[in-house]
Amino acid sequence: MRKYSHLITYLLVIALIGLLVTGCGSKENVASANAPDKKKAVAFPEKPINFWIPYDAGGGSDIIGRALVEAAQKNLDKPIVIVNKPGTSGAVGLKELYNAKNDGYTLLTNTTTIVTHKLLGTIPYNHHDYEPIITFNYEPGSIAVPANSPYKDIKEFIDYAKKNKVKIATSAKGGIWNIATQAFIKQAGINADVVVEGGGGAKAVVMAAGGHVDAVVASPLEMFTQLKSGNLRLLSVFGPERVDAFSNVPTFKEAGYDLSITTTRPLLAPKGTPKEVLDVLYKAFKTAAEDPKYIKTIKDMGAMPLLLGPEETIKFFDKEEKVMEKILKESGQI
């Protein structure tokens, strides 16, 4: 027994450190929740601001988020620090933001999964559980085929797929492009198997570029290199309008279908963040989202700019929630 006393001591020390770390965090939470800042003229920011990206570095949310931060940095005196918190299509980050201190020093960018997570039951929170600051960009779902495939436009592809079973690659179940794929199959009334790859649309895009499947559904940003290098051909985008980087490709609506599915990125703060602080942040990030350099950067990559204020963001996602609920129900996902 004596032999193990060292082990027990060691584990106790480590456990205490762990408790201390978590304990400190939660104590501060309680204090700030009970007494939100009373100051009138806010001195904000007084220290660096954490900007959480709940996805892996190098992905779509990461690249766009970094472009926004670069533009916003000019408008704030303190540095904005980017922290990647990947996990469960952004759900881990959302959960952590829900528990984070509401002082404006912790922000999180997200995607349309902010409404789908609650609908699918991943986490019990949606956009009403946070303070939206702005919405700063969107990307439409889009469908592409390998370059050597015979289909020149979306009509030809759908005609073929009505008679023959096709295979469409896309992101993991619960992810926005998976939802888009199911909705597309339903809308077009085609016969298709869905081939799923975890971790965003990137792997599915490679699979299609190698000709292992008939088509891929992802964002133009994720397909950009393969489209430009001629391994993939874009057939249609599922957005409200054409994408600037591929302005010759028609929308799905133009082809006569009623489906618009995008991933739209809001910037969120924890619920109860003081109004004055939110105003400072709104001004800084609104100016950033209007920055011509930011707009050009994201357009060049195949993404689209969009600017909505806090109330508009709530309204937008209220509408989006209904749309998603309908799509998920119709395609039997909930």
Binding site: K3, Y10, L11, T88, V196, G198, H212, Q226, S229
Partner: protein, 503 residues
């Protein structure tokens, strides 16, 4: 621009003062973060990304980013050898023999061999990248889920051969790893598997907390409990810092084999560096005449895998630059760095931005030399660490583990996983259960499962069509030959033994 003209032009760029400094800063940062367990190139590259956008020439920033990435591969083995903690999945194999070498007072030799292997592999990799990038890039695209599935079948067949003492125990551990890999949200159906309603578990269990727990924390616990083992640390003399002639001779072939193997595996999607390390390890074990030395400090077990993981990283630059396909987060960041400067990776890179391609290639030759010069003197310093008394060393190592694990996903949950894995790892070690198969299965399990299910969809549920795809068929054939050879050899041995006994 042809090859010679290209590379000369590349050197003329890489040798400018600002680019040389960028390259040096990159590889230096890479070495430092590579040594610290858990801290990987991804975080550092993303921190520096905004800075790299501000240079006059886009290539300067890219040289720096690339330097961090391949520089980190040099340092990765340090903690594996010194304190038995793999800082990344690709360093797991190095723990097995590297740490045994350290325990025998050969830490310096192991570190030197690792640095040398990294240098040779890095250089072999760049030669491959320079001459064969465009044709080889197509190979990356030809790997669909069926081909990947067959590669994984081969990999798992080799896995059973990895840890000597008891194949049954190794297999058992691999199954546990496989099981841990199923935890989380299933990407095909969206069902939660074994998540107990926790949003943290839905994201799956990351390999790093498990690896650092099973190796690192378990090591610390054993040091605390088995006091006798503390005393064995031998004083490191100066001449022990460098490998002796025999060690050099024994490791030269594994280095070259590992380099070439790693480069080709790097071309394929998926965790290439990791796969390449244990394929190399099991290849060396099979070819070796002293198989029983493996696991007890065989220098081949350090040289092969360390070369393989380094050239796999260089190999993965081929699909990255020639196709714009990133297989790993650091690759994705390099791609992001290019995109933000409006340089599009892909087939057009060689025509539109020859300066960028050749500049990076040339800087990598220089960077590898810098890394060798940087790392060899560090060997002495690091080898001293191995002789620090555990009562001082272990607390520091504990803290490094805590920080390293937290920094990967910035999630406290991972720390608890690491501590739990540490306690379990301690008891596994007592009972001689090898933990490397568990970690490798955890890394490869999810990709294997997804390749299997996607293959079924693509092949319309008919797995026998695997043989109709050339690459898949070759891989399966190799697996079958390997199995027959292994079983056959055992059979012959048994027969010989029987006849000997009966006589």
């Amino acid at each position: 621009m042809n090859g010679l003209e290209g590379i000369l032009n590349g050197f003329s760029q890489a040798l400018t003062l600002v680019n040389l400094i960028a390259c040096f800063v990159g590889v230096l940062l890479g070495t430092i973060i590579g040594v610290l367990p858990g801290l990987g190139p991804t975080a550092t590259m993303s921190l520096l990304l905004p800075i790299t956008l501000n240079f006059n020439e886009p290539v300067t920033g890219l040289i720096m980013l690339a330097g961090i990435w391949y520089g980190a591969q040099y340092g990765g083995s340090t903690t594996s050898i010194l304190v038995n903690i793999p800082g990344e999945a690709a360093s797991v194999m190095t723990c097995i023999d590297g740490n045994q070498m350290a325990k025998k007072g050969r830490a310096g030799a192991a570190l030197s061999i690792a640095a040398l292997a990294s240098f040779i592999a890095g250089t072999v990799g760049i030669i491959g990248l320079q001459f064969f990038a465009p044709p080889l890039a197509k190979a990356a695209l030809s790997f669909g889920p069926p081909e990947y599935l067959c590669l994984m079948i081969l990999a798992f067949t080799l896995l059973t051969n990895l840890t000597g003492s008891s194949p049954t125990k190794g297999l058992l551990m691999a199954f546990v790893g496989f099981f841990l890999g199923t935890i989380g949200t299933d990407s095909q159906t969206g069902m939660n598997r074994f998540t107990l309603g926790s949003a943290d578990l839905m994201g799956g269990i990351d390999f790093l907390p498990i690896a650092m727990g099973l190796f690192g924390i378990a090591e610390i616990i054993s040091v605390l409990i088995d006091k006798e083992s503390n005393q064995q640390l031998e004083k490191v003399r100066f001449k022990d810092l460098f490998p002796n002639k025999e060690e050099l001779k024994r490791s030269s072939k594994p280095m070259f084999r590992g380099s070439i193997l790693g480069f080709f595996i790097g071309l394929i999607p998926g965790p290439g560096p990791t796969i390449s390390t244990f394929i190399s390890y099991s290849l060396e074990k099979r070819l070796s005449k002293i198989k029983d030395q493996f696991g007890k400090g065989a220098v081949e077990g350090v040289a092969g895998p360390e070369a393989a993981n380094n050239s796999a990283v260089t190999g993965s630059l081929v699909p990255l630059l020639a196709l714009g396909i990133p297989f790993a987060p650091p690759a994705a960041l390099l791609l992001a760095g290019m995109r933000m400067q409006n340089i599009e990776a892909g087939p057009m890179l060689f025509q539109q931005f020859p300066n960028v391609f050749w500049g990076i290639v040339a800087s990598m030759y220089l960077g590898n030399i810098m890394l060798l010069i940087l790392n060899l003197p560090l060997v002495g310093f690091f080898a001293k660490i191995a002789s620090i008394k555990p009562m001082f060393l272990m607390p520091v190592v504990s803290i490094l583990c805590l920080i390293g694990v937290y920094s990967v996903r910035n999630n406290i949950f991972d720390i608890w996983i690491m501590l739990l894995a540490g306690i379990i790892g301690f008891f596994l070690r007592r009972k001689n259960y090898p933990v490397a198969p568990l970690i490798l299965a955890l890394v490869l399990g999810p990709t294997t499962e997804s390749a299997f299910r996607n293959s079924l969809t693509i092949l319309n549920g008919n797995l026998s069509s695997l043989f109709e795809r050339p690459i898949a068929a070759v891989l399966l054939a190799v697996t079958i030959i390997y199995l027959i050879a292994t079983v056959g050899r055992k059979y012959i041995k048994l027969k010989k033994l029987n006849t000997a006994v009966s006589k």
